[in-house]
Amino acid sequence: MIAPDALFDAVVGPFLEFAFMRRALAACLALALGCGPVGVLLVLRRMSLMGDAMSHAVLPGAAIGFLAAGLSLWAMSLGGFLAGLAVALLAGLVSRATDLREDASFAAFYLISLAGGVLIVSLRGSNIDLMHVLFGTILAVDDAGLLMVAGISTVTLLTLALLYRPLLVECFDPGYLRAVGGPGAACHLVFLVLVVLNLVGGFQALGTLMAVGLMMLPAATARFWAERIWSLALVAMAIAFASGVGGLLLSFHLNLPSGPSIILVAGTAYLLSVGLGPVGSLRARWFPGRHLEA
């Protein structure tokens, strides 16, 4: 049995002792608050892989920002945001104006964008720079980075609160929303902007490739724990934050890279929930309990 003192030292100690761990913790909390509900909506809209596509789309913008201004958070974030937004808008326009479905047009534009990004980085930067952009450094989050992540999650939560009703109806019954003249297309667009914003917020901490992990894994996990939209969002936030804490501690104690540690903790939570969660999991399928009277 582990002594309570030792446990306290192992779990709380690193955050008390090191400012960079506290910053990383705050960044994780902010990311969890924004990414949780956005991820839940992505899952409900059957757009789980769209987040992945968007995270790739962000790369060339971040790379151009990096080449223009070095490792400047603002330049890279702005570039990433613009690139992600451009891909989202172009893909949306093509799918609305032509017969091509949205997933296919997303795939086309993000692949173009990703290839452009890799080309830019490999032309001008060294491999270590590429690793920075791809895998992030949450342990090096500075004040500016923290402010940005917190700002993004604030904007996200306020926007979601404002657009809650049309966003959900647009997920649930888009034909009806169109028939009653609701702003379905506008809501979809604002939502895509939120996705891009949150991915940009995540990429300094986790890198472009893994920012989407903190968005999708907790959201997919939440489906095994909750059945209403607000509870799904709360569970996703909690799991995302817990994964952040767990990942940071793992990375601190075992000297592992922080980004993959956080995502792997979230992945572990997902796998456990697939097996053991109370709603629609393997356990609920295989051992449903006695049937009810009516």
Binding site: L162, C171, F172, G175, G181
Partner: protein, 258 residues
């Protein structure tokens, strides 16, 4: 003959007028040069073989499909007065939402994006659920409903919408006899309230029994009249003879537009 019938139908109490309407996909007409009108307060069945353009016509009236040529004119109504129940609604039935919230969506025109739902509106939703035979189902998640129960919920939402023009696209397909009878009662109630109802249907006996007017459609209007005059054996035979396949090498239509 058709032209004559149409001319006689253009009356001041028309709610929806179709002017030489051609609808279709990729320039191939699904509805070809259709003219006529739905009177305010009429209860019309739209009948015809598969591919006759029935669903396409409803989409055009609802305003979700742009005509290739011709016009749909809403003379006595606006788009906001239309309630449309599409055939295969793009509804995600695994979505975590309950029956009451689904029915409350019927209040959208009055509540909008941000407005609060009043206690009275929640009561109305409850009454609508009782009217379609689902009293007490308010808190059930929609994922737990059968296909028939879910269709009843959609009818409850139509009731709440309180629309003057109601478009139903094959509302009773894959629905059992009892549910169909209950929902036909709802349709009859709408007719009694002088709402205009247009329903795409397949069951000819059902149409004869419950629908005073019928548009027999086979790309063009075979007949559009009182049901007994529309659904004659000769007319039905003509409708069945319509070629469903489209002709890839069809040339542009040269029929003059009046």
């Amino acid at each position: 003959m058709i032209a004559h019938a149409m001319a006689a139908r253009t009356a001041p109490d028309d709610l929806v007028r179709l002017h030489d309407l051609t609808l279709g996909y990729r320039r191939h007409p699904a509805v070809h040069h259709l003219s006529g009108a739905f009177r305010a307060g009429s209860l019309t069945a739209v009948v015809g073989p598969n591919g006759a353009g029935k669903s396409t016509l409803l989409k055009a009236i609802a305003g979700t499909l742009r005509p290739l040529s011709g016009r749909v004119v809403l003379t006595g109504a606006q788009r906001r007065d239309i309630a449309f129940l599409p055939q295969q609604a793009e509804i995600d039935r695994s979505f975590p939402i309950d029956v009451l919230d689904t029915v409350l969506l019927g209040h959208w025109r009055r509540v909008g994006l941000f407005g609060a739902v009043t206690r009275r509106q929640i009561e109305q939703a409850g009454e609508a659920l009782a009217a379609v035979g689902l009293p007490g189902f308010e808190r059930r998640p929609i994922g737990a409903l059968s296909a028939g129960q879910f269709q009843r919920v959609l009818f409850a939402r139509l009731l709440v919408q309180d629309a003057r023009l109601i478009l139903l696209d094959e509302p009773f397909t894959a629905i059992d006899a009892r549910t169909t009878a209950d929902l036909l009662d709802v349709v009859r109630r709408w007719h009694g309230e002088e709402r205009t109802v247009v329903a795409v249907l397949h069951d000819i006996e059902q149409v004869r029994a419950h629908f005073p007017d019928t548009l027999l459609l086979a790309r063009e209007a075979i007949a559009w009249d009182r049901t007994d005059d529309s659904l004659t054996a000769a007319n039905l035979k003509r409708a069945r003879a319509m070629a469903e396949a489209w002709d890839e090498s069809a040339t542009p239509c040269r029929r003059s537009t009046p």
